[in-house]
Amino acid sequence: MALPKLAVYKFASCDGCQLSLLDVEDLLLDIAGVVHIANFPEASREVVDGPYDITLVEGSITTPHDAERIHEIRRESKFLVTIGACATAGGIQALKNWGDTDAFTRTVYANPEYIDTLKTSTPIKNHVEVNFELRGCPIDKMALVEVVSAFIQGRRPNIPEYSVCIECKRRGTPCVMVSHGTPCLGPVTQAGCGALCPSYNRGCYGCFGPMESPNTEMLAAAWQRLGVSNRGLVDAFRGFNAYAEPFRITGDHYEALAEARGE
């Protein structure tokens, strides 16, 4: 029986999420034994034509050309998985959605007329139907193995949608907000990293985006009790998942407050 064909595509991104596939050193050759890596330019010159059974898409849509290209990819993909914060939420480059793209271009490039870019950085789901979203900046490589395995086995991937707090409790990490007053996005952020930052005495900074039902209002109030300003809240919610709706709304709310109070 022919192996399922896997393709990997990249849009605006850092390559880190697709690199996760090469970072499963112990399993890479085993994976190559159960799926046919048919189109993965970062790893191979060989390009086997679609259609593909499973397509991994990294990166966000930021150029007119890419806004076209994602439709072609959707047409040749049976099951399309977005990997990482760029593909699922627009990534850190979505910060330009709040700025003046023309001014941004002038800041970085001497000849803005050479640059062809959209005014926004948007997630893949804003353009085409997505079958599964894998969160993280970067994704967790074992979660990627789980998604590919689940696809082969014809089941739903076992990926948590609860918050980072649950992971802290599981690993026995004392709450950094309670024990040393460190602001932490863990209560509103989806699990997936294993509650890494709190285990390094640092507050979560939201790599996996909003959890299923985030109470950002309550969390922001708790941060303010720790002395964080409105501007500080804007910085926190405008991170790697800034354009994901619950974070976007919260960031905009505190920005309006900061402006009203002249912070």
Binding site: G16, A43, R45, T63, V108, L196
Partner: protein, 434 residues
């Protein structure tokens, strides 16, 4: 000369990090134009860093590149510390070198085994190569993992580590956590030796380029984080003097800025440059291994960069073992910062070469202006120079072989196009007019 019209279009160069394009035009057997362009969509990091707190820079700039996030974290933290007059010394400084060793091992081994070796052995990918050389691919994967393990322990995770901050770390590892890395690193020392033997046995196209090699140089050690910027042609300047000596130009064919040395032109950053400028700082085992591999103190054949990556991998393994051996847990994980307005410069040696950052900060430590000069942008002109020479030497090859050797010569630089802005699109156009 061959007659008739030959057009070669290769839509991607594979096995590089990112999206770029190369166009070669040959008219009547003469090279008319060679360019290497970058079509990675621009992400505007330097623009959206404006207004962010200084403390965001290491985490945000890490996202420029999933392959070398440590480099971005190091250059940005050093730049901020320069602005605040802070200096990170002792064991904290050693831990920074250690995490950089991890990144060099992981990145160099990824490139040697998974991206570049398939060119020399004639395979489309490492997975194809594994069908005939499973032991080689397994050696590479295990060695790569040893590098990632260092980054994991010190940084929290391999990609976009979370433990680096301006002033040091959030938490320092215990001696025990580091000692757990030792057995695998001891295995890695032998594995790196084997790697050098393996890659130095490949066959290399003959080529020597009169490169200006630019890298950091430090009086006491092979450079990672600190030193002056030097070249084999007399450049010797402080990191803070960058903009006086280097120029970035924006050209139509690329979303990355091209770098030049003012009044001189193209230059070369990366393993060959570091090696040539710092050969005597390598460990005796590295120098011996180089000698045995037939590499002198200066190597001018860019195809042999794979051997120098092997030598640097051995160095990084030995340096990691030394640091772990001498490690004592410091009392605090970071140094105090005196936040004030100022300008900061930082440069460190990413696996692919020198990475310069400059920030202007306001009195609250918010970023007013950011400048980031990644290694691949600096190598763009040199890559084009190499392509011209390779093309000249290889015009008689059939189109598919010519394309492959040109791609291989781009891969000599382990280009990270995500960094430089990413999709390599190779086109060779041959026009015959008579």
């Amino acid at each position: 000369m061959t007659s008739g019209v030959r057009n070669i279009d290769v839509d991607y160069i594979a096995r590089v990090e990112g999206e770029g394009e190369m166009h070669v035009k040959v008219v009547d057997g003469k090279i008319e134009d060679v360019w290497f362009g970058i079509f990675e969509p621009p992400r505007f990091y330097e623009a959206f860093l404006e207004g962010r707190p200084f403390s965001d820079a290491p985490d945000i700039t890490a996202r420029i590149c999933g392959i070398c996030p440590i480099a971005y974290q190091m250059s940005s933290t050093h730049a901020m510390e320069y602005a605040f007059g802070a200096s990170v010394t002792g064991q904290l400084r050693a831990l920074r070198r250690l995490i950089y060793c991890g990144e060099w091992i992981e990145s160099h081994v990824l490139h040697m085994f998974l991206l570049h070796a398939p060119d020399f052995l004639g395979y489309e990918s490492a997975v194809h190569m594994a069908a005939d050389h499973r032991d080689v691919v397994e050696l590479g994967l295990r060695l790569k993992k040893a590098g990632n393990d260092i980054v994991n322990v010190v940084g929290g995770r391999e990609i976009h580590p979370i433990n680096v901050k301006v002033g040091g770390f959030y938490r320092v590892p215990t001696k025990q956590e580091l000692e757990a890395l030792v057995p695998e690193l001891e295995w890695s020392r032998d594995a790196a030796q084997k790697t050098i033997k393996l890659v130095s046995g490949f066959s290399f196209p003959k080529m020597e380029q009169d490169f200006e090699f630019v890298s950091l140089s430090h009086p006491l050690e092979y450079p990672f984080n600190e030193g002056r910027i030097v070249s084999n042609k007399g450049l010797d300047v402080a990191v803070s003097e960058w903009n006086d000596y280097f120029l970035e130009e924006h050209v139509e064919r690329s979303n990355a800025l091209h770098s030049r040395i003012r009044s001189r032109g193209a230059y070369h950053v990366g393993p060959l440059a570091r090696y040539a400028n710092n050969f005597e700082k390598l460990t005796p085992a590295c120098r011996d291994a180089a000698l045995e591999a037939g590499i002198g103190p200066v190597e001018l054949n860019p195809f042999k960069s794979i051997v120098v990556r092997g030598i640097e991998t051995l160095y990084a393994v030995e340096e990691a073992l030394r640091i772990i051996d001498q490690y004592e847990e410091p009392e605090r994980p970071d140094v105090e910062l005196n936040i004030h307005a100022g300008v900061g410069h930082g440069a460190s040696e990413a696996p692919r070469g020198l990475l310069y950052h400059r920030y202007e900060l306001d009195s609250a430590g918010r970023i007013l202006k950011a400048q980031i000069v990644p290694p691949t942008a600096q190598n763009q002109l040199t890559i084009e120079d190499d392509l011209r020479v390779v093309l000249e030497q290889s015009l008689e090859l059939p189109d598919d072989e010519l394309s492959w050797v040109l791609e291989q010569s781009i891969r000599n630089y382990d280009p990270c196009i995500s960094c430089a802005t990413h999709f390599l699109n190779l086109q060779v156009e041959r026009t015959i007019t008579k």
